[in-house]
Symmetry: C2
Subunit: 329 residues, 2 copies
């Protein structure tokens, strides 16, 4: 089955070529025949069968998934869950002979995400480097009736991990429908933002976020080289200003304070993005944090109940734990 066909939503009959891929996959993976046996049965060369099988894997007709339990296993993860009250924590080790954490974390996150995503779900996707990395390493799967929605408005050109790209790419991987959000993330005036938010198309989509079953995002920092500044949503000076005014992190393009509440500021009022209560209404909020310098933003997001499932490095986990054990929330 072709992506285009699946994307169109309607369940379509398989084209002859896709039928063959399905049959080959079925005989090989489900019945355990050898490639030459499959070839014989379908009157093909073995080489073709090998090609078909690769396609079957690439398109999600067959799915090979590995348990991510390895990363939930450490005692540290358990303690963190208990201390902070999260549903589940995955810890990516940085030390010893381990894999490079900078490549490993997105892989773990992608696996976890796939485990959490169910057929029929609506899934909200934020943006950012982390999310894009995850999309990039995510396995193809063929989930039925999944809808992927974009959590916040878009920004202009420079980045290749724009919100709509994150959404689209993940939708493609799941063979799901991707719903993009055609509004800018930040507008130049509060009034304009308000009017745009009231537009039926936008309103509809913003409302639909609260009905998602799963969200995937990271949290942003507020440094001069943070994501928002580099995208030009805010100047470095403005950002510094906001930091003084209590901003601690960024969720779906919006500034939050140290308690994980929306900062009451002009910038936030000019944003078009999911409101925090909608996000909190999503049962599974999967947060993935790669950078060590996102400690304070992460703490804020946790305090603001914006996280239910968490993927972090060992050292970040340790810092979180000592913070909570030192001063329980």
């Amino acid at each position: 089955m072709t992506n285009a066909e699946k994307q169109s939503g309607e369940r379509m009959p398989l084209r002859p070529a896709d039928q063959l891929i399905h049959k080959a996959a079925w005989l090989y993976y489900t019945h355990g025949l050898r490639q030459d046996e499959v070839a014989q049965r379908l009157n093909l060369s073995r080489a073709s069968v090998a090609t078909y099988l690769r396609k079957a894997r690439e398109t999600g007709i067959v799915t090979i998934s590995t348990s991510s339990q390895l990363y939930t296993d450490e005692a540290l993860a358990r303690r963190l869950e208990d201390a902070i009250g999260l549903d589940a924590v995955w810890i990516v080790p940085e030390d010893r002979e381990a894999l490079d954490p900078s490549t490993e974390m997105p892989v773990v996150a992608a696996t976890v995400f796939q485990e959490l995503a169910r057929s029929g779900d609506r899934i909200a996707i934020a943006w950012g480097r982390t999310v894009y990395h995850i999309a990039d390493v995510m396995a193809y799967a063929d989930r039925q009736n999944v809808t992927v929605v974009q959590l916040c408005g878009n920004l202009g050109a420079p980045y290749n991990y724009r919100p709509d790209q994150c959404t689209t790419e993940i939708a493609r991987r799941l063979n799901a429908e991707g719903i993009n959000f055609y509004a800018p993330l930040v507008l130049s005036s509060e009034r304009l933002a308000e009017e745009l938010r009231a537009e039926p198309v936008i309103l509809e989509q913003l409302k639909s976020i609260a009905t998602c079953q799963l969200a995937l995002y990271s949290v942003g920092g507020i440094e001069a080289d943070s994501h928002l500044v580099r995208c030009g949503a805010l100047s470095a000076a403005e950002m510094a200003e906001m930091g003084k005014a209590g901003a601690t992190g960024v969720i779906a393009g919006q500034l939050i304070d140290a308690e994980g509440q929306l900062v009451d500021c002009d910038y936030n009022r000019r944003c078009i993005s999911a409101d925090l209560d909608s996000i909190r209404a999503i049962p599974k909020r999967l947060m993935v944090v790669e950078e060590a310098n996102k400690f304070e933003p992460l703490v804020a997001a946790i305090k603001g109940r914006l996280v239910s499932h968490l993927v972090v490095t060992t050292s970040m986990a340790q810092r979180l734990l000592s913070r909570w054990e030192g001063a329980p929330a």
Copy 2:
């Protein structure tokens, strides 16, 4: 991770040996390293890695699943869904160069079952040759928090597809908890059956059936060589008698009439089994019918709304379709 450990319910830390299996599986399947690379990384021989990977597949640490769409694909399946109002139909072809349908049907059913079963589900399992065949070919998977419950009481010795065995085997395959039902299917007196049904343990379990998300069963016939007769629950003569009195098929050990309603008879009153309304309350009722001679019982089960998902042969599908198109329900 060992089955014993998983079975115990509590999430336990992995033993060192199981850790290795997980790591090998992760590197090989998730990262796509070659076996020799994995071996190098984990300081093992490649042969050991191969062994570990086999174990990982066998225990459900990695899962390889194939889309069953091939069997939903035919137009016939679509027409049947529409005509009868089922959620989904899978059709196993019998003709042409196809696989032997008698082995293929359980394989398809097992695949469909795995697709329908979600983590966290409660799953009700009936018994019979068909169900046991399905259990037998079912792939191993490692679902979290699944509970498998037995739909009806047990019978005595002769069969090796006793209700408790079906339940236990499927629970083992899913790495789930299996809850057996320690009561006979039929008692010698109505009074005794009633008293037993009122026992807290039994009562509890019977009530819990309505809260399942998925049921797996077949439908029984009422011939002299039918399941119930061969198990000694009913004599051939009694069964013939019941047939005259309107019994058309058997669901979870109980006789149903042509409309899929419980027959009001002594035998049924002596049964300890899920009541039909509890079964109807289960959202996904997967019925699998292998034998051509179960046409009338199947029609009865469908009329009684005991089926939402169906796996049948092409010829059975055709017969169903002509019945419904001839005289819509």
